[in-house]
């Protein structure tokens, strides 16, 4: 809440660039909105605005206003979907020049990975990449926390002299805003004017989206993950069976993905993959490089099974089982079925 009568310190608005993806808002867009609202509150109050560039996106703009954006700049035009860095880059650059926000946040999605550096180059400003941490000081300086060297080093980055301060944010790092029936305003922009004079050099001729099979990693209560120690596609099936038994999601490390044992890179957890926060994470045959463990640091309980008692993974685990996963997983499945059988017979005490 900004106090009435008392003017807040002029430190520039915080903007988030929302992404229309497959008829809805990309989850990371809500995550950066959540963090923008938290930072605005912690820094003593400032405007939080969203920019939504797309087609037939009026409904999604209202969602952003309802979720807490004070203002939503809606740029709606058939030429603006699917995403292209030249059209979106032109529109966003012009809006930023006109409105002069202090901070602009992007989701580090595939399109954010093109749009953010494009706009930063046009505006000659600083951009933090794939931030895992963000903080705004009372005088409006943005701390952008980035991980380098495979999650081994955390660096605080700043853009002290140029505005806006821009950051792309790794998906899964922040919580979306709590449900709140706030009513921001939607400002419908003149898309034709914002696109005028721009050469469109690229044409998106086809967009293919396919939801991966199985339980998605994001939001799963149980994640069953495997690493290079699994050793092949055939033993990998054990992990699929276990995940199915627990209605959980299957995740993997980069080496397991490279070996082609998993269904695809949507299953990869870590610096170049996803961040997960299940209630329970069960890891099998994972050595435990920061590359992977950075993606599970917010998991509730981490249980690791590895035949090597010195596996670094055990240092990042709550429970360590030194054993062969080929023995543990079938025993686990039997034990789980026993429990499920019991709970079918007798009503659960809860």
């Amino acid at each position: 809440m900004t106090g009435e009568g008392k003017a807040p310190v002029r430190r520039g608005a915080i903007w988030i660039v929302a992404e229309q993806a497959g008829g809805t808002l990309a989850p990371v867009s809500l995550e950066i909105l959540g963090q923008a609202l938290r930072m605005a509150r912690a820094a003593g109050g400032c405007e939080v605005a969203a920019v939504l560039i797309g087609k037939d996106a009026g409904g999604l703009a209202s969602v952003l206003a309802w979720l807490g954006a004070d203002k939503v700049f809606l740029v709606d035009d058939p030429r603006l979907l699917p995403f292209q860095n030249d059209t979106h880059g032109a529109v966003l650059t012009r809006l930023i020049v006109r409105e002069d926000p202090g901070v602009v946040l992007f989701g580090a999605s595939a399109c954010g990975e093109e749009l953010a550096p494009t706009v930063a180059a046009r505006l000659d400003t600083g951009l933090g990449a794939h931030c895992t941490n963000l903080d705004l000081s009372a005088d409006g300086l943005l701390m952008m926390g980035v991980l380098g060297f495979g999650g081994r080093v955390h660096t605080e980055m700043f853009c002290p002299a140029r505005r806006p301060q821009m950051a792309s944010v790794k998906p899964g790092m922040f919580q979306p805003p709590p449900r709140a029936d706030r009513k921001g305003i939607v400002v419908r922009e003149d898309a034709a004017a914002l696109l005028e004079g721009e050469t469109i050099r690229l044409r998106a001729v086809k967009v293919v989206r396919k939801e991966p099979e199985g339980v998605p990693l994001e939001g799963a209560d149980v994640v069953v993950a495997g690493g290079f120690g699994i050793g092949g596609k055939e033993p990998w099936a054990l992990l699929d069976d276990l995940a199915r038994e627990l209605s959980g999601a299957v995740g993997c490390t980069r080496p397991a993905l490279d070996e082609g044992w998993t269904s695809g890179d949507h299953a990869m957890i870590g610096t170049s993959g996803k961040t997960v926060r299940p209630k329970v994470y069960l890891g099998f045959g994972i050595s435990g490089s920061p590359h992977h463990t950075v993606g599970i640091k917010d998991a509730g309980v981490i249980v690791s099974v590895n035949s090597d008692p010195r596996a670094p993974m055990f240092e990042s685990s709550d429970y360590c089982v030194v054993s062969d996963f080929r023995k543990i997983v079938p025993a686990l499945i039997r034990e789980i079925r026993k429990v499920k059988g019991d709970s079918l017979r007798e009503p659960s005490p809860a």
Binding site: E113, L127, G148, V153, H154, V205, D221, G300, D318
Partner: protein, 268 residues
Amino acid sequence: MSGFHIVVLVKPVPDPGCYDRVEIDPATGALARQGMPSVLNPSDRHALEEALSLQERHGGRVTLVSMTPESSAETLREALAMGGDEAVILSDRAFAGSDSLATSRVLAAGIAKVAPFDLVLAGNESADGGTVHVPSQVGELLGVAHLANVVRLEVDADGSVRARTRIENGYVEMEGALPMVLGVRREINTPRYTSLMGVMASQGKPIRVLGAEEIGIDGSRVGMDGSNMRPGKLSRPEYCRKGERVKGDPEEAAARIVGILRAEGVLG
């Protein structure tokens, strides 16, 4: 048109296999990475492979361009053993401490020096920094179309381009025309092995070293002074947990894990 001039951006990086040895010097707070060998950035090999297969199809020239200290010429030589006609190292004390935009300025100036070019290919990201900024920012600075996350590429003799880019749970087919700057992901191809012939041929390939003055770039626009981003404190993230050892045979261990699953409310 008889073939294209393809520029491949390459970067020697500390060997990703050694990142578990990166430490922060407690006295200076700076990164200590002594004794880490330099290798060609892994995704750059895929950019070079793509350039070489286009060269095989259409003819033309392949030039490697790298902003790196002159001392890493050996890594460039290794890249030339895989293929390519010549390499240009952009090296100057003034470049040190460049952020991604300042780096892109140096690279764009270096590319302009070897111009005219038709296509610039780069690895999507570097293993050490991993910003994915360079393909887009070099494209912007050169004033040409650009894409990142490219996983499939077709270039016709007339310069028309069809590129598939990876998005979340899918892909987009993009069309355009050269000139273009593209960042490629490792899924795009399997880089060829370096042959003994290639190693021998690389010895005769020219490696030029150019400084700030030679590429005509203003020293105040690059390096630490020309960078908008400033690094602050470094720290080592800790992921340590209590690490309780679960004892017993597989049946007992399984029973214990099931107990944990039940206690966390995800089973039964």
